[in-house]
Point group: none
Chain length 250, copies 2
């Protein structure tokens, strides 16, 4: 099924950019590609650059005009690399992606990108509801066409995935065990402090600052229960007394 | 002047990707590129794909190992396309960019990307403080290397442009000393690993997982240089060999 958001490439010169755009779209979950009067398509170079996204290329619709490409769309966004003499409502890709996610719920949406060297004409612009501008280095704004497609599709995916929730989930996944309790943490620190006092590293005359610094290091790291067990095992392995008693008390 | 955030490409196979990465960087205002053992460089294909960013290519530093590429960095982020058997702190590009903007104020930062087909090894991973994962279509996650560079650099630019709002002074941690560099951190870990191997805690048959877990604990904690010195002093105090030699070598 075609995704509700389509990418429209107008008069693309380099077939490699068409292939790379197809790949960029598919990595972000989009498959709806429309080509307006491409210079060369289909083309071996496009297929090569598409890598495993040749299904997106195979499904691409080729049309003669931008009007035809977007005729069923309720919301059309034009990508613009430069400021326009005629000011047009322009947003960055993040705001654009949010708007598109809202619009795509009940209408078809197109993102339109012009030819590599010249960009969209004023006539094309007249068919767009909004412009999206990808912020670039003012001294070198030569963003490749397929790179622009990648950034725009990436923002669509981020908007769809609701980034904060995703990150929270990723951070949760990164934990294999519950966080250590304050009590478990204190037990570890006491074991370490005893060992370090025996080794002469923590001196009875000014131990406070050093103890606190060590505790702060491990507190910042937010240890889980597996990690506390590893660290306690490590301390036992380094404790000459525990080693002498090994076998008697274990 | 090199930008405080460097992009490190490890063992890149296709020179075209090196050129396209240089262009992607420059469009977002970055110019600091380090290549670890590239398969082919310099190369006409890289220059062609760099388009007007050939100055970034010309300034690229080529080194033999990842360790060398990041030795002066206080914060190292690895790009990861897949979930890891050993979960590592992982964030999305947006969160990553905000963190980097904070860190880059007072230390050098590297973003590391592995070879096209295999990505970073577990050993490389052991040198990273954090992983960044670009969300992709679960059914087709084949993001091109230079496209990944583009997305990461785009997020850096967005974060930098947002910086006043993002980097609230109050949120910044009070640090007494500069962050430990990757080299200093690695020196600490090597000392600890040698000591733990001698004590029989790290076994030669399956030491990898345990070593990585230990490294992860301390990487999460973002050690500064005072803390590294404390921890190394602690290891020396616990090392029976260092104690026997005490007086002879100090």
């Amino acid at each position: 099924m075609p995704s509700p958001v389509r990418i429209v490439l107008v008069e693309t010169s380099h077939p490699g950019n068409i292939g790379a755009s197809a790949r960029a779209m598919k990595t972000m979950g989009l498959n709806n590609l429309v080509l307006v009067a491409p210079k060369e398509f289909p083309c071996a170079e496009a297929t090569a650059r598409a890598s495993g996204a040749d299904d997106v290329l195979a499904g691409a619709r080729v049309v003669a005009s931008l009007g035809e490409a977007i005729e069923d769309c309720g919301f059309v966004v034009g990508a613009s690399a430069r400021l326009r003499s005629l000011p047009w409502p322009t947003v960055d890709p993040r705001v654009c992606a949010r708007t598109i996610c809202e619009q795509a719920a009940d209408s078809r949406v197109a993102i339109v990108l012009g030819p590599e060297h010249s960009g969209l004409t004023n006539e094309d612009l007249g068919l767009c509801h909004q412009l999206v501008h990808i912020p670039t280095n003012p001294e070198y704004s030569s963003l490749n066409l397929a790179m622009a497609v990648q950034v725009l599709c990436y923002e669509l995916r981020m908007a769809r995935d609701d980034a904060p929730g995703v990150v929270a989930a990723a951070e949760r996944e990164a934990r294999e065990a519950p966080l250590a309790t304050a009590d478990e943490l204190d037990g570890f620190h006491q074991q370490m402090e005893t060992l370090l006092a025996d080794a002469g590293f923590l001196k009875p005359d000014h131990p406070k600052q050093l103890k606190l610094r060590l505790r702060r290091i491990f507190h910042r790291s937010r240890l889980d229960q597996i990690e506390i067990n590893i660290l306690r095992g490590m301390l036992t392995a380094l404790d000459p007394r525990a080693q002498r008693q090994h076998g008697k008390h274990e």
